[in-house]
């Protein structure tokens, strides 16, 4: 039960490794452009160890950061040539830290604004107002609502109805089967008309490939009319 309490506390205090790192940098009053990497790494690891000792679940992110710090520390130990233009290994951590701090300050600035619903209020006009001509009204809806609507349907679906969540992908094979089926029904298909009835580039390409495959397999023949230029697709009699 105790571990549960600590778990909650850890998440409240340090939401992620960046927060912990910033805390340690502040606590030790060090310059972010000149981080004493071994001090901070040691403190960081001590903290992780302490958390482990307290039986707290540590998110993987914290361990990744520990590895990053250790890596930087080891790189700092390597001799560096005076005139080398290799950047300070600590940049690897300083840069994201600064970026994170910038975003933190941006969040604070957002929070300091006069917020609608907190500092300032608008009218909530009566819902009865204005029926208008529905036809002309624009629609206000967003994608998230559409997905949620679909999710709702899936959730409420009785188990005997199975539907694929992912939009169906056309396969050349399926298209061939469809074409054969169409040809059996109609006898022939005019290529131009067939293409016009399709929706989207992918469908046209798939259909085209399906026709080529059928001709290659000798399942269908293509004949172009000399006068009209129409290309007609016929089904070959199966042997």
């Amino acid at each position: 039960m105790f571990s549960d309490i600590y778990k909650v506390q850890l998440e409240n205090i340090f939401e992620g490794p960046m927060d912990l790192l910033i805390y340690l940098i502040r606590k030790n009053e060090v310059n972010i452009y000149d981080i004493p990497i071994s001090l901070i790494t040691n403190r960081y690891l001590e903290y992780i160890e302490w958390l482990k000792a307290m039986n707290v679940d540590i998110a993987g992110d914290f361990l990744v950061m520990a590895a990053t710090l250790i890596h930087i520390k080891s790189r700092m130990l390597l001799p560096v040539h005076e005139d080398s233009d290799e950047e300070d290994p600590r940049q690897e951590i300083a840069r994201p830290l600064l970026e994170y701090l910038r975003m933190k300050s941006a969040a604070l600035q957002l929070n300091e604004r006069e917020l609608l619903g907190e500092h300032t209020f608008i009218r909530s006009p009566a819902k009865t107002s204005g029926a208008g001509n529905l036809q002309d009204r624009e629609i206000r809806v967003d994608l998230f609502e559409l997905i949620q609507a679909f999710q709702r349907i899936i959730d409420n679906l009785s188990p005997d109805i199975a539907i694929d969540v992912v939009a169906e992908k056309l396969s050349i094979k399926d298209r061939m089967i469809e074409l054969i089926w169409l040809l059996k029904d109609r006898g022939s298909l005019i290529f131009q008309e067939l293409i016009l009835s399709l929706d989207g580039k992918i469908e046209i390409i798939i259909t085209f490939l399906a026709i080529l495959e059928m001709v290659k397999r000798n399942a269908a023949s293509i004949i172009q009319h000399t006068d009209t230029g129409n290309i007609t697709l016929y089904l070959n009699e199966s042997p």
């Binding site: 819902k127 036809q135 629609i139 809806v141 997905i147 349907i153 694929d164 969540v165």
Partner: protein
Amino acid sequence: MPELKSIIESFLFVSEEPLTLEKMKLALPETDVKAIKEAIQMLKDEYDHRKGSICLVEVAGGYQLRTRPEYADWIRKIIQPFAQRLSPAALETLAIIAYKQPIMRSDIEHIRGVDAGGIIRMLLDRKLIKILGRKEIPGRPLIYATTRHFLEIFGLRDIKDLPVPKDISDLGKPTVEAHEMTFPNNFIPTPDENT
């Protein structure tokens, strides 16, 4: 403390329904009813004097800010082009067509379990869906698909961009928020349920 008259004005501005004297008194426990009444009268006079489009009326046992009747014709012009929301039923039907297109009406009805004729017609009218052709099966039923306008409405370049429920479930559960900043719900327009 701001002027009583202005405080009352702010109350009337944010209230959805006519505001009673009792409610105002509750929000202003240290002010007596007589002073509130006087302030309301002053405010009413001010609105009348100013000759703007808004007036203060006594209605349904309370007070309310309203537009003057002379502006009704103008207001109808601005209300009309206002964005409309799709009903949950329409949204669900649209979602089925979007994700399962090309699809026959009977399949839509099979999935939703109810008649879809009216909604399909409405979606056709609104140019959100189109008739793609007929399915070559007995009865040659019409098949439906979404339109270019649909993509525009949802800001999609291509139907392939349509996020699937998995994209959302991958995000996990929404975090429960319990800190600092207040965001009232009651100012976020709620969907019209009356399509």
